[in-house]
Symmetry: C2
Subunit: 158 residues, 2 copies
């Protein structure tokens, strides 16, 4: 039997150098309580303002061309707050996060994961309210997740 | 552009008569705190003992034939506790729930969703520690989720 998920975990660990335990270290603290809603909103606004004005890699911003920026921000920030210890904002409005399912119609090439992480790393640096420990935990989680989606979607499509 | 997720929501609502708000009413209370870990374990043990001994519909128990029952129970109970207000037990051990992604290699026909719900409804009745209000919330969530997976997986495969 094809062990899809354990193969995927090994692949991500090999690529990122992060164990699942490290990737999920966001769960060892409550980042929602620690950072507060305003900080989460600032992060997603900062991230998407970079994405939607990415003139260097236009193919990347084109992934989002049918999605108004305020919707992209709301979806992301509600998911982040829910996943990092806050109320179930995302599920109340949208249902199951179903990360692989919801990303199957988009360009999830490895270079898209890398560009996503490039903008997120810069956004985390710019939002000064985010302390160093939180930044490290979030970046590990985001790195794992970006490759989880890139590899997961491509394995499911083939 | 194909609006996969909003089409899926309408389809599920039409089939089940449940709005997304009703389906996600598990989030209006903390069921993990209310019911406690032992009750969640009892529910998943009761559910899978029914599934693994389903002699009436052998095709259904065959879906699980490569999975030891204790693993199936642990995966389910950790996901339920995490999703219903408890610690992130599932993600610490397995990562993203990614419900559609993780169900793509299984038989997710509509009659499989129905058989899953049949056993879960009976298990909820048998575990006497679960009060009526919790039972209703959980059954709505499970009903939504069973069709979400059945329709979601088949839309992604096509």
């Amino acid at each position: 039997m094809f062990e899809f998920m354990s193969d995927l975990d090994s692949l991500i660990e090999e690529k990122t150098g992060l164990s699942l335990k490290e990737a999920m270290s966001i769960d060892e603290v409550n980042l929602y309580t620690r950072l507060g809603e305003e900080t989460f909103w600032n992060l997603s606004k900062c991230f998407y303002s970079k994405v939607y004005s990415d003139e260097e890699e236009k193919w990347f911003k084109n992934i989002f061309k049918n999605k108004p920026m305020d919707e992209a921000i709301q979806n992301q920030v509600e998911f982040f707050m829910q996943r990092m210890g806050g109320p179930a904002y995302y599920s109340r409005r949208k249902g199951h996060p179903a990360l692989i399912g919801r990303h199957m119609n988009f360009n999830m090439a490895e270079k898209a994961a890398e560009r996503w992480l490039y903008h997120m790393r810069n956004a985390l640096e710019e939002v000064k309210e985010i302390d160093e420990d939180s930044k490290i935990r979030m970046m590990k989680y985001f790195t794992h997740t970006a490759y989880f989606l890139s590899y997961g979607v491509s394995m499911k499509k083939n």
